[in-house]
Structures are given as structure tokens and as C-alpha cells.
């Protein structure tokens, strides 16, 4: 039997969801704290330690470990052969987990309250930076595993079309290597030596520029598995076919190529970069909206096909005809809804001029909770329900609880994030633990804060149901048959695809050139300008 990665996949997935649960509890504490209604629990030290931990767990731990676990299963199940090197997969897991624990200690003890963006010159304990770097290094080993699995399969199956789910997973691995280089350079050449006292000063403007290199495409690193599930699992589970295999490949390629060289939309308000390069990055940022818009079409079309096959009639009848008792179908539809809402918000953030009105307000925080916590994470949860039987050989403990949990997740996320966007439009700044401002705005903010507490509570309840269901599923009834062939079939299954849609050589070349154009001069300029650096500061 070729599936030799079940244990390592499961290990990664459990680390992901354990981190997820801890982070949710912290999230509820934060929203309650910030409302100002419970002065007994208010503490700046605890709040900012909590936010830092919450951000690292959700943004780096949940995501990386989920992606690694899902990737191992995909490699086995689509390529129908053992992992390229299973020992290395365990090395990746150990390094990543070791790094996570190393970073968690200062985080949880208040020695790394620098938030998940860790902008200098605020300085955390060096163990935080080293731990975070190890987590990334572990993920690089996973990338190697994914790439080599595909490369060796292609060598042994010349001329064959790489299965779509593995093509997407490999695209994600390559994109992650390109984009994580930015934060790796920041860590290795700035933050780690500086926090260890080996360097007296560093340039915070350069640090922000390097981090921006990673900051956009990392969200696509997170989003890719959600899209992979939408393209290659959801259509079949819904009872239909994938509308277009080729368009899915094109979407993956566009995400790989465009999402890295566009980080300056995170730096629109920064003084160390100039208008010209900000404008250039804006153009690319609007380009990267295109694969998402294409994905929306293809996935909706696939679902419509499934609905009509089930008897749905009329313009919208196919929606009701879908199997709403199936967790993946529920998650897919809710994810698409939240993608539309969050996506339009994202376009405002990406706007060269309008960003001024929302930058570093709570609009941004509301946006990424909706698009990440909503669209991406709900697909992670549904994919977990899909993977568990395949990895354990047992049925999900309660399918109906899974469906309810997913609905609650989306509803809770909407209750949480809609007022959050409004708070941003009403001028509330980001990253505050309370609102001691001498302004009538504070009273205007208050009802929205309260609504957000309700959202947070619903999300915590939903997360509880999720973890409970998965735990119970380890002891549920075994299944007679577990199939590794539950991948969606395209309406027109490709018998062959152009080399450029079966590999990545051309796209790597384009990324390399585009990165030199988009980041070359901006980084070199900072090295030449040599702005006086900053010593470490505590918080």
C-alpha cells in the first residue's frame, strides 16, 4: 500500500488544530478585554502577549502544519506512490514543532509581545525569532518533499498530466519558497543577530520592506489549500464535476507568479519607499485579483452543475438542490460568500489612494479575519472532516454536528467582522487593547465592540464542536472501504496539457525577473541610503 504518510499527516494536522483551539480562546479574551466592559480582566501586558500568541498560532502554526499534513495526503493519494522520503517528512515536522515550542515559551511568558509581524525596533527575546525561523525551515523541508514527489513522478511517468491537486500543492510549495525568502533574510541578517546583541542597530525601514516581500504571498500560501479543496474535492463531493481543469491550472500559475512581487501595498503609508514603486506594486496587486475572480467562476460553475444534476431548476434552483447535509458543500458555499465580501474589502486595501482611509484601522483587522478566518479556515475545517476518515479509516463521529459547526463558524465570523469593518471606517486604530481617547468617537464605537463579543463567543463554541468531533472520530465506527480516489473529475479531463501547465520552469523564471524589478532597486536603495539604524527597544 503506497499511503505511507498517514501518521505524519495526522501529526501535522493535530498540531494545527490544537494551536487553532488555543488561539480561539485567546481571541475571545481579547475582544472581551478591548470592549472595556470588564475592567477586572484588563491588562495591557496580558492583552499584547495574547494578541502576539494568537497571531502566531493562527497565522503561522495552524496554517503551516495544516498545509503540510494536507500536502502529504495529497501526494500519496494523487500520485499513488509512497512519499519521496518519509523520514524527511518527520524531520520537517520535528524542526517545525521544535521551533514552534521554542517561540511559544517567550510568547506565553510575555517576552515576545511584538505581535505576529514583529516589526523592529521593538525587540523580543531571541528565542522567539529563532523559533519562528525554525518553523519556516521545517516548512521548507516540506516544500522539498512536495517538489521532489512531483519531479520523480514526472520522471517515472513521462508525458503524463500531473494530477491537478498535486500540481496545485507543488505550485504552493514553490510560491512559499519564493515568498518566505523575504522574512528569512530579515530574520537571518537583521532580527536574530540584532536580538542576540551581535549587531547594534538595524534599519526598521529595510526590515519592513523585507517583511512585505513575504507578507502578501503568505496569505496565498494559506489560501492555496482552500482553492485546491474547492477545485479538486468539492465538485465530486457535491455530486458533480470540475468545470475546467485547465482554468484551475491557470489560476494556480497566476497565483504563483503574481502574488510575490506585490508586497508594497502593505507599505503604501511608509516613508522609506517612494510613489513609483508603490504604484508598480499596485498594478500587480490588481493583477492577483484575477485568479481569484476566475476561481469564483469555475468553482461556482462546478457547483451549479452538481446542483442541476441533482434536479435543481431555474436561475437559482440549483442552490437549494445541493446536498446541504454534506460538510464540504456547506463550507464551500459559505467560503465563496465570505470570499466575495472579503475580496471587495481587499480591493479597497489594495487601492493606491483609498488605502489611506483604512490603513492601520480596524477595517484591516476585520478584513483579514473575514477572508482568512472565514473563507480560508472554513475550508480547512471542511477538509479536516474529509481527511479524517481517509487517515483513520473511521467515519466522522457526527456529520450533522459538522454541518452545524460550519454554519456557526460562518455566522460567528460575520457577526465578528461586519462591525469590525465599521469600527475601522469610524476611525478606530489597530492593535489597541482599550480606547482611552478623549473623543465622542469612543461612544460611537461601543455598540460594535459589544456585537463583536457575541461573534467571538459563537466562534469559540463552533471551534469546540469542531475539535470535539475530530477527537470522537478517532474512536468511531470503522469504515469498510476508504478510498483515495475521491478527487474531482473534470468535465473535459485533460489528456495532455502544454508543458507550461504541467511544470514550473517558465513561471520560476518570470517570478525571478519580476522580483528583481519589483524589489531590487527598493532594497538596494535602502542599502545605499543607509538610514541611521535603531537600537533595540523594549515594550
Amino acid at each position: 500500500m503506497y499511503n505511507n504518510s498517514k501518521a505524519v499527516a495526522m501529526a501535522n494536522l493535530w498540531v494545527a488544530f490544537a494551536a487553532f483551539f488555543v488561539a480561539i480562546v485567546l481571541g475571545l479574551y481579547q475582544v472581551v478585554n478591548r470592549s472595556g466592559r470588564f475592567p477586572q480582566i484588563e491588562s495591557h501586558e496580558m492583552y499584547f502577549a495574547s494578541v502576539s500568541t494568537h497571531g502566531v498560532l493562527m497565522g503561522f502554526v495552524l496554517t503551516t502544519f495544516f498545509i503540510m499534513g494536507f500536502g502529504y495526503y495529497t501526494a500519496n493519494a494523487t500520485l499513488k506512490r509512497p512519499l519521496w522520503n518519509r523520514g524527511l517528512a518527520w524531520v520537517a515536522f520535528t524542526v517545525a514543532l521544535g521551533g514552534t515550542v521554542l517561540a511559544a515559551i517567550p510568547l506565553l511568558t510575555g517576552h515576545a509581545s511584538v505581535l505576529y509581524t514583529f516589526y523592529p525596533p521593538l525587540k523580543a527575546h531571541p528565542a522567539f525569532y529563532i523559533g519562528a525561523t525554525l518553523l519556516v525551515v521545517g516548512s521548507w523541508i516540506w516544500c522539498l518533499e512536495m517538489i521532489m514527489s512531483t519531479v520523480t513522478w514526472k520522471r517515472d511517468n513521462p508525458g503524463q498530466v500531473v494530477p491537478l491537486a498535486m500540481y496545485g500543492t507543488t505550485a504552493n510549495a514553490i510560491m512559499w519558497l519564493w515568498t518566505s525568502a523575504g522574512v528569512a533574510i530579515e530574520m537571518l541578517f537583521q532580527l536574530i543577530p540584532w536580538s542576540l546583541g551581535l549587531m547594534d542597530t538595524i534599519d526598521p525601514g529595510l526590515a519592513r520592506t523585507l517583511f512585505s516581500w513575504t507578507l502578501h504571498a503568505i496569505v496565498y500560501f494559506w489560501l492555496f489549500p482552500a482553492y485546491i479543496a474547492m477545485y479538486t474535492i468539492l465538485p465530486k463531493v457535491a455530486g458533480g464535476r470540475l468545470f475546467s481543469d485547465e482554468m484551475a491550472r491557470i489560476a494556480f500559475i497566476m497565483l504563483l507568479v503574481i502574488s510575490v512581487p506585490i508586497g508594497f501595498h502593505h507599505l503604501y503609508m511608509d516613508p522609506q519607499q517612494s510613489a513609483g514603486f508603490k504604484f508598480l506594486h499596485m498594478l500587480g496587486t490588481f493583477g492577483v485579483a484575477i485568479p481569484t475572480l476566475l476561481t469564483g467562476f469555475t468553482v461556482l460553475a462546478s457547483l451549479e452543475g452538481a446542483g442541476r444534476l441533482r434536479g435543481g431548476k431555474g436561475l437559482f434552483g440549483w442552490i437549494g438542490a445541493l446536498n446541504w447535509k454534506e460538510p464540504m458543500v456547506v463550507a464551500g458555499m459559505l467560503a465563496l460568500f465570505m470570499l466575495i465580501a472579503g475580496g471587495w474589502g481587499g480591493m479597497i486595501n489594495a487601492s493606491y489612494q483609498m488605502n489611506t482611509l483604512v490603513h492601520n484601522t480596524q477595517w484591516v483587522t476585520g478584513h483579514f479575519h473575514l477572508i482568512f478566518g472565514g473563507t480560508t479556515v472554513i475550508m480547512y475545517l471542511a477538509t479536516a472532516y474529509y481527511l479524517w476518515p481517509k487517515l483513520t479509516g473511521r467515519r466522522i463521529a457526527s456529520r450533522s454536528m459538522a454541518v452545524m459547526q460550519l454554519w456557526l463558524w460562518a455566522i460567528g465570523m460575520l457577526i465578528l467582522t461586519m462591525p469590525w469593518h465599521v469600527l475601522g471606517l469610524l476611525g478606530q486604530p489597530r492593535r489597541i487593547s482599550s480606547t482611552p481617547y478623549d473623543s465622542p468617537l469612543v461612544a460611537q464605537w461601543d455598540p460594535h465592540e459589544l456585537a463583536m463579543i457575541a461573534g467571538g463567543a459563537v466562534l469559540l463554541f463552533s471551534a469546540l464542536l469542531f475539535v470535539l468531533n475530530l477527537l470522537l472520530s478517532h474512536a468511531s465506527k470503522t469504515l469498510d472501504r476508504v478510498s483515495d480516489d475521491d478527487w474531482a473529475v473534470a468535465v473535459h479531463p485533460p489528456l495532455s496539457v502544454p508543458r507550461s501547465m504541467n511544470g514550473f520552469a517558465l513561471w520560476n523564471g518570470i517570478v525571478a525577473v519580476w522580483m528583481v524589478v519589483a524589489y531590487g532597486i527598493p532594497i538596494v536603495q535602502l542599502l545605499i541610503l543607509d538610514a541611521p539604524g535603531s537600537m533595540p527597544w523594549g515594550y
Binding site: 525596533p121 521593538l122 517612494s274 498594478l283 489611506t356 492593535r431 482611552p436
Partner: protein, 160 residues
């Protein structure tokens, strides 16, 4: 490669949306001169309080020859200095802000005054306030445990 005709139509719609959005931003940048703050200028955070443009006696609002206003401020834990600024309404105001300590960000709600303040660099933003009254400068980037308390007052007063 086979592309469904409906999908082809959608691709044209997507292209159209993209062109309209990018076109409007390009127009606003070139014709209306609307850009995010983009002055690149270095300064030494360790000595800016001792000599030069940002010593304490030079902070605040000054009127330029053409009637526009230049406001020099320092963002430092945990306030913006001077803590109260008065500027006339309907007049171009250029803010020059820098930090001697850590990262800050500042925005005035309901206006387009917004910028990051990065130690080692001088941020420059030019805007015109259209409404008289009292407003707040709010720090919007985490700068330490006192970040919540970092704010200052802006008064927009009648011209002349």
C-alpha cells in the same frame, strides 16, 4: 485548450473590471496628483532632538510664504508632540513627522491624513482639512504597552 464560452465572457468582465479600477487609480494619480505619502528622507533618530529641524523649539505649525502651513511633529512614546496643533481650514497643510524611538503610525479619522512613522526616516504628508472643529491624531501602529494612550489633539480653525 478548451475554454467554455460562458467562462470566456466572464474573463472579459474580469478584464473590464480590472481596467476600470486600474484606470481610475492611474487617472487619480496622474491628473489629480493623489498619491500615498512618498517622501524618502533619512534622519538620525538618536540625535534629532539635539539639533536640526526637529528640536523642540521648532516643532509645531509655521506659515509658509505662499500661505500653506508646515507642521513639524515628533511621534514618541506615548504622544505626538506638540500635543495640540492648530491649523486653518481649507488650507494645504504639510506634516513632517519623525520618531526618535519605535515604529508609529498616525491617522486623523475621516480625513486623508495618514502615515507610518519609521525611525530613521521623515514622513511627509500634505493634505487639506475641510471641516472646522476638534479632531484627534491617533497612533495606529503597535509601539509598546502604552500604545492605547498615544494620541494628541488637532484643531481646525477658521482661516485668518
Amino acid at each position: 485548450m478548451h475554454v467554455d464560452p460562458l467562462e470566456k465572457k466572464w474573463m472579459y468582465v474580469v478584464g473590464f473590471i480590472t481596467v476600470v479600477m486600474v484606470g481610475s487609480m492611474t487617472y487619480a494619480a496622474i491628473k489629480m496628483n493623489l498619491h500615498p505619502p512618498s517622501n524618502v528622507e533619512a534622519i538620525d533618530p538618536k540625535t534629532l532632538h539635539l539639533s536640526g529641524e526637529f528640536t523642540e523649539d521648532k516643532l509645531g505649525a509655521t506659515t509658509n510664504e505662499d500661505g500653506s502651513i508646515t507642521v513639524r511633529m515628533v511621534a514618541a512614546r506615548y504622544s505626538f508632540y506638540p500635543q495640540m496643533i492648530e491649523v486653518p481650514v481649507d488650507t494645504p497643510v504639510t506634516f513632517r513627522i519623525t520618531s526618535p524611538d519605535v515604529l508609529h503610525g498616525v491617522h486623523v479619522p475621516f480625513t486623508n491624513m495618514s502615515t507610518m512613522v519609521v525611525p530613521g526616516y521623515v514622513s511627509e504628508v500634505t493634505t487639506t482639512f475641510l471641516k472646522e472643529g476638534e479632531a484627534l491624531f491617533l497612533c495606529n501602529e503597535y509601539c509598546g504597552l502604552g500604545h492605547d494612550y498615544m494620541w494628541s489633539k488637532l484643531k481646525v480653525v477658521p482661516k485668518g
